[in-house]
């Protein structure tokens, strides 16, 4: 039986990288949104510019589930290289749309799916003589056909094309023509609409549709960042580029045209973090955007920044590791790398935003925290968040908010004779005062170094002052618990002894999984961790549940390790749920894993006694 589903299905486009499909697919996705129906689109792309397979998936979801669902209800199979796998991926009862210009033997098709063949290449060859036009318009033609097949109002797509080519009006009419060509062909040759279809709704409201990387970059603009130093690396590159784009729009001095920002594309990640450290030391708000391999290279500087107490912000857009790993796939596998970055005893502050709305919010907050705590702050994004466009609440800003520069001693305070010790814990919170270079002619200068020193920044190799300083850094880390965003608790409908801890991009699938689990009679309380160090709310949550699943996207259960170590939790109490094949975690996976492990809610496993 063909799948019947209104406003709840997954369509996947299988294309060849560099064939111009991306903009056509996005046009399709936006048209569903213009129908008032929420979507969750995702790119699955290779580490390649042209020629390799690439997929784009649109989850049409009236219920607003923003995580990946898993499975494909309709495949738009435009890539012969991946045909077999693509056809096999379709759910039973699903739909296959393909270019039938060259006949495909029946053995290559499936009997349990509805097959819709349209001679796209033939139509293009008939209509266009220019090879580039044939390619590009083929994409628009299939969007037109899909509009007919899925009951999308073609007027919405026409409007989107008009908006897209504003200023290049010449391109509008040919695109409209191609769109209608596809629409009319489908209407004439297939029974439209299919069992899966879009029905106009009003569920978008004032939501926005934006990439996590762009949102984080905009957060940096609002956080007052003036210096950005970076080295190109997927999947973080678009963050630095978005910062430049937003700055060119929002940070140009109206009178002179001069820039109120400085961006350096460094020679490597070591230099990038070096520039950030230098700028932070000198009182500018500075950041870098990178991914796991970049964080690996920055280790030495991160120890310096921790020990010399220099504000810095790092956006880590995580990808599959180790080594080059899966550079275009998503993971949450830099958690431990960042938490304990560098040699010696170090601990760092991490923020775990979910989706673009929080990427913006935490992106701005990170700069206040860096100044307040005088230390590196890691904003832990991932490829799924960063490089996909997500539907989210609009960005918000309170104009009464000011930039919190933390404890900076001014020339007036120095002149008045206030005691300045760079590493002196004046307030008991472990956070000392600093001075910007050049503040006062005779007071407040100090020497910054990565070697040990006393409270007045004087070089010393004595054990006492060294230990005193290391303990103050721990006090400062305690203070950080109060500053990082609090975890978000979502209680189950019924009292339960089962808990789930999750973070970042995992949480969209988790939200959906909670509802699915509840429907199966498995009730879980969920805590979404948003910062490290963990506040007492996190350890209290674990203590209040017999079994706590820690759901994350890496092999080694990194957040679970962090919880064990930092909260002193019995490992048996924390059950890992791990998804790390490089695709975004799905609600289906979480439900399956938790249902299997929580069946009957067993008592915590007893350990075998070996002797």
């Amino acid at each position: 039986m063909p799948i019947e589903s209104v406003n709840d299905f997954v369509i996947r486009f299988a294309n060849v990288n560099g064939s111009g499909s991306a903009s056509a697919n996005l046009l399709f996705a936006r048209s569903v949104m213009r129908m008032g129906v929420p979507i969750a689109p995702r790119n699955i792309f290779p580490s390649n510019i042209q020629g390799l397979p690439t997929w784009y998936e649109v989850r049409v979801t009236e219920a607003g589930h923003l995580g990946a669902r898993g499975g494909v209800d309709m495949m738009v199979a435009m890539n012969p290289q991946t045909w077999d796998k693509d056809v096999a991926a379709i759910e039973p009862g699903g739909y296959l749309f393909y270019d039938s210009s060259r006949p495909v033997p029946a053995s290559k098709l499936r009997a349990d799916v509805t097959v819709i063949g349209m001679p796209l290449t033939d139509i293009c060859n008939r209509e266009y003589s220019d090879p580039r036009q044939r390619q590009l318009f083929k994409n628009i033609i299939y969007v037109g056909a899909l509009a007919a097949l899925l009951a999308i109002d073609i007027a919405e797509i026409e409007k989107l094309i008009g908006e897209q080519f504003r200023g290049k009006e010449k391109l509008i009419a040919p695109n409209h023509k191609a769109l209608h060509m596809g629409f009319d062909y489908a209407t004439a040759h297939f029974s439209c609409p299919l069992g899966i279809r879009v029905r106009r709704a009003d569920l978008i409201g004032d939501k926005i549709f934006v990439e996590g990387n762009a949102a984080a970059a905009l957060g940096a603009v609002y956080g007052g960042a003036t210096v950005c130093a970076w080295y190109p690396i997927t999947p973080s590159t678009s963050l630095a580029e978005a910062f430049e784009r937003y700055c060119n729009r929002l940070r140009i001095d109206a009178a002179t045209g001069a820039k109120k920002f400085g961006i350096v594309q460094a020679e490597d990640e070591i230099a990038a973090i070096g520039v950030v450290v230098g700028a932070g030391w000198n009182g500018a708000r500075a950041f870098t955007a990178t991914s796991g391999p970049g964080i690996s290279l920055m280790q030495e500087f991160l120890g310096l920044a921790y020990f010399a107490e220099i504000p810095a912000v790092l956006f880590d857009v995580q990808r599959g590791g180790p080594s080059t790993g899966m550079p275009t796939r998503t993971q949450q596998s830099d958690v431990l790398l960042c938490a304990y970055a560098s040699h010696g005893d170090t601990k760092h502050v991490l923020l775990f935003p979910r989706g673009p709305h929080e990427a913006f919010e935490f992106g701005a907050l990170a700069f206040d925290l860096a100044d307040r705590l005088q230390t590196p702050i890691f904003v832990m994004l991932d490829l799924d968040t960063g490089m996909n466009q997500h539907l989210c609440e609009p960005f918000a800003w309170d104009d009464s908010r000011t930039l919190d520069r933390g404890k900076v001693m001014t020339a007036e305070e120095l002149e008045a004779g206030k005691d300045f010790g760079r590493y002196l814990d004046v307030d008991g919170d472990g956070v000392p005062y600093r001075t910007y270079p050049g503040t006062h002619p005779s007071r407040g200068a100090y020497f910054t170094r990565g070697t040990s020193r006393d409270r007045y920044a004087r070089y010393t190799e004595e054990g006492g002052p060294y230990q005193d300083n290391m303990e103050r850094l721990l006090r400062k880390f305690e203070t950080a618990k109060r500053y990082v965003p609090a975890p978000v608790l979502q209680k189950a409908a019924k009292p339960t002894r089962l808990g789930v801890i999750h973070y970042g991009s995992t949480s969209f699938a988790m939200d959906e999984a909670m509802a699915l689990l509840a429907a199966e009679g498995v009730h879980v309380d969920a805590l979404r961790v948003r910062g490290f160090p963990f506040s007492s709310e996190v350890s209290d949550f674990i203590a209040a549940h017999e079994q706590v699943f820690v759901v994350e996207q890496n092999r080694d259960a990194q957040l679970r390790t962090l919880l064990m170590v930092e909260c002193g939790v019995d490992p048996a109490q924390l059950v890992p749920v791990l998804h790390y094949d490089g695709t975004p975690i799905t609600a289906r996976f979480i439900v399956r894993s938790i249902a299997a492990k929580a069946a009957g809610v067993p008592a915590p496993e007893t350990r075998k006694v070996l002797s």
């Binding site: 939501k207 609002y222 210096v227 109120k260 800003w397 006062h440």
Partner: protein, 351 residues
Amino acid sequence: MTYLAKPKFHHPALETNDLGFTHRDYEGAISTLCAGCGHDSISSAIMRACFELSLPPHRIAKLSGIGCSSKTPTYFLGQSHGFNSVHGRMPSVLTGANLANRDLIYLGVSGDGDSASIGFGQFAHAIRRAVNMTYIVENNGVYGLTKGQFSATSDKGSKSKKGVANPDSPIDLATIALQLGATFVARSFSGDKDQLVPLIKAALEHQGSAFIDCISPCIAFNNHDGSTKSFDYVRAHNAALNALDFLAGRAPITADYAEGTAQPVTLHDGSTIRLRKLAGDYDIHDRVAAIGHIHRLAEAGEIATGLIYLDEDAADMHQRLGTVTTPLNALQGADLVPGAAALEKINAGLR
């Protein structure tokens, strides 16, 4: 090194500069380097240069990497903020500091290990980025703190203290700086204060990347027969291109030598360098010829010293980037945060 702190009081007739400071106001902590170290002479030259230029010490930021040379910023300019960073990474830290506040004077101090080996890349990129700074490499051709290994500037065939000959080709940092587009390139010798002090003064006043390769013998590990960076060897093979007098624009003084032998060069800030040419037709504005000249002298076993190249009209990093004249670290929330109304417009564009 000495453990005896100098008393703070001084003779009332001690020379003062335009700011009313004596040279004592440019001192730092007591050096912990070996007695007689060439680096200490360079520190003295830096203090002298800053004193003579009447630079306010607190407006100078001194940055370094790791190594003997990188320890020296502690020993001069005690009223300046200093940053002893990561081995080989001073250039990036200085670049960031400069981006944050274009109004300070940046002095980067490094060594041959720090700049020619571990930090060769950062040295290169800071120079090609035209960071406005004075970058001094205290070049002794040896790793001192780790006791006598060859560095990347050790000449091929030169001998270590243990008598082993260096098999590898040396890196000539002055040539590299020229190739990378440095707009002020000089070489000097820690034992030649008369040449070094005016060079540092001119470098400090230069707007752009000013590089000084300063040969600085290591008396502990590289001052023996067979070393090409020993006091005796450098004195014997020094081929000075020019002698230099530096005249600050704000306090012109009369030159004490005949016009005919001098080539005056006016710097961006109005100050003037007077060059007394020693090497015939040497032209400090010809980058290509400068590289050739260094090489020809090197072939003959000579070390070219003096001001090797100068481009006084170059644009620095901030000019290239087009940043505002206000230091970025002085911009306030109102300058930086676009506000809720602008955000609403952005939201509207994302629907």
